[in-house]
Symmetry: C2
Subunit: 381 residues, 2 copies
């Protein structure tokens, strides 16, 4: 078999970054076109597949078959699933593997997995020979709508998550929407929190569309690919304007400052709180705080809570976490965030669904008072 | 004391890289203006000084005094001098130090030392928080004319030198020409090989000027600053055209493919062969091969050998190394170079002094035959 000429993804979203521009392809069964895409973009290149053992067990054969069909030489390096793999040692092992197989700058690292793999393998690609080519094949909903798009790569430090890394854009992103069928339900839901986020940031119509089509997206119909494509388009637009997060890109952190604090308090233990759940809780807090400040309406907050609950996502820490969380604990983590500048607190707040904005120099006292009240209640409203 | 208003470097060379543009300041006694430069470019920033124990012992007090005069908060991290510090463990320690002192993206890492420190600290700056600010204060001639300019940063891998890293541009480069007075003579000579390289690449007039002013440059007069400024200007021009080494920048590798092979054969043991000596030998080989191919004249080769010898630099491996080197050994290393593409050999050859060019797909057999003949003789001519 040779290159597959029938490569027709349901959606293709360009990310416009001058000479670093690339396409995100979204649709069912794209994985078996991976070899074709690689060959088209980097003829003659060899590949190093980075994956985790879960993903590779389920879908490795499809990817490998696709590369073999296109006669692409490849090697595979499989890491342990989970956040601890985003650290120095696994990074070094990938770079060492790439150098040992004498990868050249025109060769390709394929990041084949969820957010952890995308961040880890992407960072390895950025620093091997000061940059080898990279193709992202995200296999979780979260990675498809968020982490695989925009070029943020990195590992965790003992001081916090994602504190070490690089901005490094891929050659292409392939988001196969069928691969998500094997995702655990909790992970799919968590990814859906990030989908909702795009509606909240600047697209009220998308939020309304999600209220209507939530069920179909979970079921895996054409609406799933459409939802993912709309998220990628939204993120691509923001990233094209502000690749290195000097301004508007910070909007993508809606719910993340509060959410990261909760994740930190759970020691990033995914059995207690996965990232998307933290984001769901954080978005509720951002809107509840915005409402308390007279910015957003009670109705908007209620709609958000309804959609999150219907999606199986948490809306208040006390309903989700076994241990109580205090405002003091959360403030401690929030002031450690890498986006903190000169000690002042920057939050993403909103004047309503689809009307988020970057609020700089937010009064720490007001945030702390809000958290005290919010956490004292046992539900979000 | 406050910021020093009398900052008037003998030479200032801009590096034109759009939003990543910066200035290289060159002249005597610039070190005591470091605080002023930092404050001007990044008001309110804190600093993390990365240095090695030799450099910091000789010149640390001047740098520190300058920062204190401008009321800049700083911490210091000193590493072991020498090439082994360009590795994962020292890199991790610097990043950990930066994160522990809660450096923010607007804060500054100061790379204060020779090429090793510039590469190591520059890479740490590139990946801490996906990029904190960087000021290069090179303290060796080699670093002032070469490694501190152009944004290449990195560490070594067991598979070879500089195989892991990033392209990362500094906020400014401060080249204090008086600092070079404390440099060991052998290191100064080695740096001078890179100075000569700029004449050989594309500036025959500069080569002639060096033949005349070599002595004054070694003595430390105004010609020293001028020579450094001309090299920086030459490198800045090439880098501005080709930041990521996709084309013309490869000219800067004149003498380096042969030179790296010799360094590799010496296991990068600086007591046997320092980098600049390898470059000197490599430049002779590049011109001798060019002459053999009918490209360059015997006269040009003779002038090069005369200037290198007068500068105390080696011109033939047999005169410099205690063990014999074979063509086979050199070819083995040359084919490992990270600039090798699809296994074909790319060399920088020349049609004469000042007329170097990138020769792609060079016949490996011809190179091997040339090396066999060249190495069999005991002198270069």
């Amino acid at each position: 078999m040779t290159s597959n000429p029938s490569f027709q993804p349901a959606h293709t979203t360009p990310v416009d970054l001058a000479e670093r521009s690339y396409d995100i392809h979204i649709g069912p069964d794209l994985l078996r076109h991976a070899g074709h895409v690689l060959k088209t973009l980097s003829a003659g290149a060899r590949a190093l597949i980075i994956s985790d053992s879960h993903v590779f067990e389920h879908h490795g054969h499809t990817l490998v078959q696709s590369l073999e069909d296109d006669a692409i030489a490849y090697e595979t390096h499989v890491v342990t699933p989970g956040e601890p793999s985003k650290s120095w040692q696994p990074l070094q092992e990938i770079v060492d593997k790439a150098l040992s197989m004498r990868l050249e700058r025109g060769d390709v690292i394929i990041a084949f997995g969820g957010g952890v793999i995308g961040d880890l393998a992407g960072f390895a690609a950025a620093i091997t020979l000061r940059g080898v080519r990279l193709i992202q094949i995200p296999t979780s909903l979260l990675a498809q709508v968020d982490s695989s798009v925009g070029g943020k790569t990195g590992i965790n430090a003992r001081q916090g998550k994602n504190l070490i890394g690089a901005f490094y854009q891929p050659l292409a992103v392939l988001a196969d929407t069928h691969v998500l069928d094997t995702l655990p339900a909790r992970e799919f839901r968590a990814g859906f929190a990030e989908v909702i986020k795009y509606g909240l940031i600047n697209d009220a119509a998308f939020f309304t569309w999600l209220e209507t089509h939530r069920h179909a997206i979970f079921e895996g119909g054409s609406q799933r690919a459409e939802a993912i494509a709309r998220c990628c388009r939204a993120k691509a637009n923001i990233v094209a304007e502000d690749e290195r997060e000097k301004g508007r890109r910070a909007l993508l952190n809606l719910g993340h400052t509060f959410g990261h604090a909760l994740e930190g308090l759970c020691h990033y233990d995914g059995s207690k709180l996965v990232h998307g759940e933290g984001v769901a809780l954080g978005m509720v807090m951002a809107f509840a705080f915005s409402q308390e400040m007279g910015l957003a309406s009670k109705d908007d907050l209620a709609r958000i809570i309804t959609l999150l609950k219907a999606s199986g996502l948490p809306v208040h820490p006390s309903e989700h976490l076994s241990e109580a969380v205090t405002a003091e604990q959360m403030m401690h983590f929030m002031l450690q965030d890498k986006k903190v500048s000169k000690g002042s607190l920057t939050l993403i707040l909103a004047r309503g669904i689809g009307h988020s904005f970057i609020a700089r120099d937010v009064d720490q006292g007001k945030v702390s008072d809000f958290l005290t009240r919010f956490l004292a209640h046992h539900t979000a409203v």
